[in-house]
């Protein structure tokens, strides 16, 4: 794997200029998680309106893979229905675990992270934001009596 294949320009771009960084004042999901292996940390904020993701932001620090992955995630999730968001998260996880999902096209730019597969230790970095989102969504639904 060459440097260019792994550290694709789009990853570096999101790392250097993260999108949706900051806090949301009124968030339905607000969750802090970290990756004890490398010290990566994230605070995720999601605002849900009418079953759709009306706002999403994050704060945190960590390696380029985790930060770029989260930044790209926030862009993607914005405006999605809960179900579509959950589906996307699972598709992304499947790709990172080497499963080659059928709907990989839906991932768009996120496919840039595929190279991380080769570094199993780093897969956890790429998944940090997504796992935090899925966990947050689950608690949100339980709180609101929706089927998990």
């Amino acid at each position: 794997m060459s440097l260019e294949e792994l550290y694709k320009e789009v990853i570096l771009d999101h790392y250097r200029s993260p999108r949706n960084k900051g806090t949301l004042n009124e968030a339905d999901i607000e969750l802090h998680r970290d990756n004890p292996l490398c010290g990566d940390e994230i605070d995720l904020y999601v605002d849900i309106k009418d079953g759709k993701i009306a706002g999403v932001s994050f704060d945190g620090k960590g390696c380029s893979i985790s930060q770029a992955s989260i930044s790209m995630m926030t862009e993607k999730l914005m405006g999605m229905s809960q179900e579509d968001a959950e589906g996307l998260a699972n598709t992304f996880k499947a790709m990172m675990q080497g499963e080659d999902p059928q709907d990989e096209d839906s991932l768009g730019d996120l496919v840039a992270l595929k190279g991380v597969q080769k570094y199993p230790v780093r897969i956890k970095c790429a998944l940090l934001g997504w796992n935090t989102f899925l966990e947050g969504l689950k608690s949100y639904r339980e709180k609101h009596g929706e089927p998990a």
Binding site: L3, Y7, G62
Partner: protein, 412 residues
Amino acid sequence: MNANEIRKDFPTLDQEVNGHPLVYLDNGATSQRPRAVIDEIKRFYEEDNSNVHRSVHTLGERATLLYEGAREKVADFIGAPGPRGLIFTKSATEALNLVAYAWGRHHLAPGDEVLISEMEHHSNIVSWQLACQDTGATIKAIPVDVDEGILEFDKLDGLLSNRTKVVAVTHVSNVLGTINPISEISARAHEVGAVVVCDGAQAAPHIPVNVVELGCDFYVGTGHKMCGPTGIGFVWGREEILEEMNPFHGGGEMILDVWMDRATYNELPYKFEAGTPPIAAAIGLGVAIDYLNDIGMKAVHDHEVELGKYAMQRLGEISGIKIFGPRDADRKGGLVSFSFEEIHAHDVGTILDTLGIAVRAGHHCAKPLMRKLGVPATTRASFYIYNTKDEVDRLHDGLLQVQKTMQGGLGL
């Protein structure tokens, strides 16, 4: 000694990684093995393979002689008075736990203190934490002077008291490279009647070791960091202490006789070696020690000091880098830990790997020290007998590339 000649003995080094000749600078995690060690393991399995000790057949006798021969080599290598105090384990971690269980669980009590240091590896921290949980003793730690990268030695007297039952300190730090003054620590610890456990996992591979001069009561090492196989470590202990100690694991070989409800135990060192030991790995370690002795441990250390000096100089040229540990390469083992303010250690490690350079990025199993240094992780380049100045240059250039990638445009 000539690192370029020595390299030829290590088959793993002769490969490309990601299209670049491999630069292996992760020796602190594990070293490579010379052909002599690999070949002896193969030969043993092909010709002499058998269980040890209780066999009366020819293969069994051959295996036993080789296994016991390895014990003598290890004992000699660390200057032990004899092989009876030399116990084989599977790793330095198991060795430290053996002491924490077989000595610790039967000698610690509420009010007692275990004194470690802030630069210990988790194996020399958590093993004692578990012993303290079981016995009610408490842990204290000799602080680290972050600027100097050494133990705050003047704090030692304040920390030692007649409550101190164990002083467990690393000989060489796996993060800072610091060589600790074990003989002074032993002397002071013995004044208050404490037992001294020295973690030599990062020392035995790199500097001459003499347990008698160090004055410690237990000395721990591991094969895989000193040209030997994985799955073999050792603890040397003073025979008087080992004699009166409880056994650790119960099983075959450690007994004299067994009844349903009780047993009598074998003599040293077998009392502490229950079950089939890692026979091939022990024999391989014996060959590794022959190999290191042929080079000479003084020469090994000199080579690493030279590389360490050169690395500190070249890495010091890089803007924004922060280097941890003693500045004086003479006073430390051949490794350099560093970090960049704006770049995560994992990105450093991964990008260097794409350039064929293997380093360690992470907390190095020393989280309390990371907290003290104020970083979540560092990058560590650790050297061994086969590393060269050219490789240090490759590291230097690789780090410039890391900065370019992470901070600037790609500009490749």
